[in-house]
Symmetry: C2
Subunit: 135 residues, 2 copies
């Protein structure tokens, strides 16, 4: 796959997530996809995404930096959202948080077959004002 | 800069860190380098690295995945080390921890001018056995 084609495929994948077009997820994600070295498969990947949108009703994936080096893609994603309850174990409860995810992908047969992600959870914790215990 | 030249420059930078060859750091890092959108400059960058080696005497940077898309580089770094005291606010105290850093770089004039890093601090916290309070 050329660099331009891979960049186009990746952007189409991000659009698919933002539209929550789960019927098309398999066009972009391999049946045997691995996430942080665990084989979760397409079904596990879909459940993970559905869980993300349940925790963050206004979730939107924004590409901040994109590097393409076939068959790999690296992306710094930016999130600006208001998770409804706990996120990463942190009681966000509807506060606005902004954070980054630096993530690597490996493509096979034009689909994502491997993902290695690190999310800046510490940034979320630093932004959340935890209410003092009621007296 | 070609892809191959940039990959070679980045590997030489990692070697420089692992040798703690601070006299040569300026060959690889720009005077006005920005780290996570804060201009810390070469001096601030050196102080950050010196602090890292002070906290982690056996610190070693290992390239796990490298993507090169000039003028950008993205790297997943692997660490396997025994920090002497606290690391990221976590009382590691000489226990062995393994964690990843997903980091993006932008090069200018063959030197690193911008860095956007996310370190998997949650992985460190999950590995540390905190001793129960002594009775």
């Amino acid at each position: 796959m050329t660099r331009d084609r891979l960049a186009e495929r990746y952007r189409a994948y991000i659009d698919c997530l933002n539209r929550q077009d789960w019927a098309r997820l398999g066009d972009f994600v391999h049946d045997r996809v691995r996430y942080n070295d665990v084989q979760i498969g397409l079904d596990g990947y879909l459940r993970m995404l559905e869980g993300d949108f349940l925790a963050i009703p206004d979730l939107r994936f924004e590409i901040e930096r994109l590097l393409v080096d076939p068959p790999g893609v690296a992306c710094r994603l930016h999130f600006d959202c208001t998770p409804s309850g706990r996120l990463f174990g942190i009681p966000v409860n509807g506060q606005r948080v902004r954070f980054a995810e630096n993530v690597f992908y490996e493509f096979e047969d034009e689909r994502i077959a491997g993902v290695w992600s690190v999310i800046d959870k510490a940034a979320v914790a630093a932004q959340v004002q935890v209410a003092p215990p009621s007296s």
